[in-house]
């Protein structure tokens, strides 16, 4: 059944390309089928119909037909509840592999009447319901577990409704280009490499704590050393803060791919990622060296992001002349979890 369903989905959405623009749900892309409850209701009506025949009960027929007509009418209602709806995705903030990406969708109701019980559903996840005010919009967040670095997409997402009686489900498939950049998972036990003197690297600096200048607090970010968390501030409640130090005196670091002779690509990237975070949190100036990419030493959020991006989208080829630029994409759309916001 599941496989058949997938095939049906592929077949009806064969013409649909992932969209980078808002999608309006038109008649042609709304589908409608009875739910399990709908089939049960149909069975009930059939029994009532037989009952009416058996007892020659004229009003029995009338009531059975009335309920059938109401069920038919609920088909229009369900259809109308989706028709004209505008769905848009603003993508998701970058995350590290192993974290959950939060894709933000916007459901826009252009009509001057409210819509109730509209849901967004990622693959294999329970639907996330919300109400849309008249001529208003609601934001729905689908949470996707980012399993691998690279670009992450939600794949086809269902917009659905069982309004008003729950007997029928109307739905539409939408797919957006907006993707989430997934950084490698920061992992590895190696200490930061020694700073080298010379053109390609920086020398090993004085690691004594006394030479660091306290530079204030910033919000905790994954990868920060627990030693630097402002535990005193944390016990008073409020967000986790990290003490920041700058040390202009210390030389630049080169986070070099070649320093890691260890096993395969991904653990190396994980270690590099870990280093980037660590170096940033320690307030060091650092550069990144990857086969085919060189990011000169710098410091700050933009630099950090640039490095992490390079790590996320890195493709390794033995022969660097055949390096390709394509992003790493998960073959299967990831599992999603949804929350309304």
């Amino acid at each position: 059944m599941g496989a058949l369903w997938r095939r049906f989905e592929r077949w009806v959405t064969r013409g649909q390309r992932p969209s980078s623009e808002p999608v309006r749900l038109t008649r042609r892309r709304i589908y409608i089928l009875p739910t399990a409850q709908g089939y049960a209701f149909a069975t009930l009506l059939f029994l009532l119909f037989l009952w009416s025949i058996n007892y020659s009960n004229s009003m029995g027929f009338a009531f059975t037909f009335l309920l059938a007509a109401v069920a038919l009418n609920s088909m229009w209602q369900a259809h109308d509840n989706l028709l004209g709806l505008v769905v848009d995705s603003s993508g998701a903030e970058p995350v590290f592999a192993g974290q959950e990406a939060r894709f933000v969708f916007r459901l826009d109701n252009p009509d001057p009447k409210p819509r109730y019980g509209v849901a967004l559903q990622g693959r294999d996840q329970p639907p996330c319901y919300t109400d849309l005010p008249a001529s208003g919009a609601t934001v729905v967040t689908l949470t996707v577990l980012a399993e691998r670095r690279g670009w992450l997409r939600t794949g086809r997402v269902r917009v659905l409704t069982r309004y008003p009686l729950g007997l029928l489900q109307a739905w539409s498939w939408v797919e957006f280009e907006q993707a989430c950049l997934v950084y490698p998972q920061p992992r590895g036990r190696r200490p930061l490499p020694a700073a080298l003197s010379g053109s390609t690297g920086a020398g090993l600096g004085d690691q004594g704590l006394g030479s660091e200048d306290y530079a204030g607090f910033r919000l905790y970010a994954p990868g920060d050393s627990p030693r630097r968390i402002a535990w005193k501030a944390a016990t008073r409640g409020g967000p986790l803060l990290v003490k920041q130090f700058t040390d202009q005196a210390r030389p630049e670091l080169w986070l070099d791919w070649r320093l890691l002779g260890i096993d395969s690509v991904e653990p190396r990237l994980a270690q590099l990622c870990q280093w980037v975070l660590k170096a940033e949190s320690e307030g060091r100036r650092y550069g990144l060296l990857l086969p085919g990419a060189r990011i000169p030493p710098a410091q700050g959020d933009a630099h950090r992001r640039r490095c992490l991006e390079a790590l996320a989208l890195f493709t390794y080829a033995e022969d660097t002349s055949h390096r390709h630029e394509t992003a790493v994409e998960p073959e299967e759309p990831a599992r999603t979890r949804a929350t309304a916001g």
Binding site: L44, N54, S56, S58
Partner: protein, 665 residues
Amino acid sequence: MKLPWSRKSRPERAPPPVELLTASALTWLLAALALGVAPQATELSVWLSVLFAALVGWRGLIVLRNWALPPRWLLLLVAVLAGAGVIVDHRTLFGRDAGVALLTAMTACKLLESRGLRDGVVLVFLGYLLVMSNLLYSQDIPQVVYLLAVILVMLTAQVLIHRQHAGLTALAPLRLTGRMVLLAVPVMLILFVLFPRIPGPLWGLPKDAYKGRTGLSEQMAPGTISELSQSGEVAFRVRFTGAIPPPNQRYWRGLVLWHFDGRRWTRPEEPPLNTPTPLTPEGAAVDYAVVLEPSNRSWLFALDLPARLPPHARMTASFQLLRDQPVNEVYRYEMRSYLAYRTGELTAMERSRGLQLPPRGNPRARALVADWRQRDPRPEALVRSALTLFREQPFYYTLTPPPLSGDIVDDFLFRTRRGFCEHYAGAFVVLMRAGGVPARVVLGYQGGEMNALGGYLMVRQSDAHAWAEVWLEGRGWVRVDPTGAVAPNRVQQGLYAALSDAGLLPFLARRGGDSEWLRQLVLGWDILNNSWNEWVLAYGPDRQKEFLSGLGFGPADWTGMTVAMLIALGGFSVLYAGWRWRNRLARDPVARAWQRFCARLARRGLARGAAEGPLDFAGRVAAGRPELAAAVWEIARLYAALRYGPVAPPEQVRQLRRLTRRFQA
């Protein structure tokens, strides 16, 4: 410290959470179920009504006070006890009353274990069954209107049990379901009229399926008819095609009783008639249609004597009309009768049956007849003597005759002399048989009240009557009504005028009594009921064929009906879709602007084809009117972008409206 990514495995798939029923959903559900059971509160056993009310109240308190649901074992206990109670009450779990009682009890128990959506769905479905079960007891107008309201409440509960629709608050869900029901009515009417009906029953009906209907029973003993006479219920209504026969000619024949066991008159099996009309008419035919209320009996009523056979019915040699199935729905049939007639020869069986008497008993009556025969042995003389006896001796017509004992005919004729029609008819037939004249008792109704406003005759249970027939050489079976000899008013003006103790009659049976304006109101209400019966309740397989054939499209068979039904449904869908489209248009500024633009061009003879896209249309207009090309292209492109593109930005919509308003063809 546990960091977000230190989790290695995928998060486990949690089972889908139970969608708990909201307080508002439960409130609507409780209201709907209570309203659905209410009409049966008097039919159900007292303990069951109390149990249902208590459990509904309990569930209501659980909602209000946030109490916990009762434990499983307690519910199970209540369910088992309730089931046992139903068995004790009805001696079975099957049948109409037991079935309804069980359904009520189990719904109440289910209510107390209902937490989630699935339970809510089950309860709503049980609720629909409960609503429908009310129709087994009554289908009259107030009941149907009431049940329609209950359906509305039930549908509202059905909307609200879906937690995701909980954004609908206050009366919004009721407005929604109200609109849905209104829109469902045309479809319901189409299905009701055109859905090919199948004659029931499909399987055996429970014995008590139609219990509790008043009407003539199959036998007659002192007291059976006088009891029935105290019901003001309508037995049937009649609409005549031509002139209406006078009251004393309105003998509505039901069944013929031959056998007398000394106390009780009963009806033997009679073979159906082979020859179509064993009567010779001596006057014009009377044509009419009868709408019979459900009686749970198979006999049909017709004026003396019927000369036509309704479908699925047969006639016996004694002119009884019997339908194949008991009349359990409002049943309409066309009839023809001859009020003046002669019947044929007496068969041997009729003679032996018509002269049957218990071997002994009623010696004084027999002696009296022997005395009459000595004076004049002709049958006509015997009839006259008997009627003279009733007319001249102090006999009284009363609803409350004293009880009879021993030889009941002797006791009545010579001691009490107070009786209702069954006493007179029974005694008369006994006298005739004792004198060697074949005679029989006929049960039916006599008279009926004219509803002048509605132009039809109402025959009530209080018009129930018994009379006699004697067989006379050369004339055949002749009707004799001995009650008429005692109380001529009974035949002329009805029961109320004839009785000395008419105060015992219910209001509806007091024809010709006081409070005329109230009576007018009653008659007006009856007109409504009659139309309801004739056009709605009596609309079964036969009436459907008759009605649809009468529309002039030829005889109606089920294929024709199905086709007509599908066409009608399709037509309605198109109308509805058109109406919705117009509504949408009224709300949609882009479409409205485009319509305006097209209308202006159409006035210049450039109408857009129904299937022509905006750009094709613009191309055609631009080719025909080059001076308009620029403006037309601009509008068409903008419209196409707004219509078929992703989302319309408000400033572009305004732009389109501005352009179309300024556009001059």
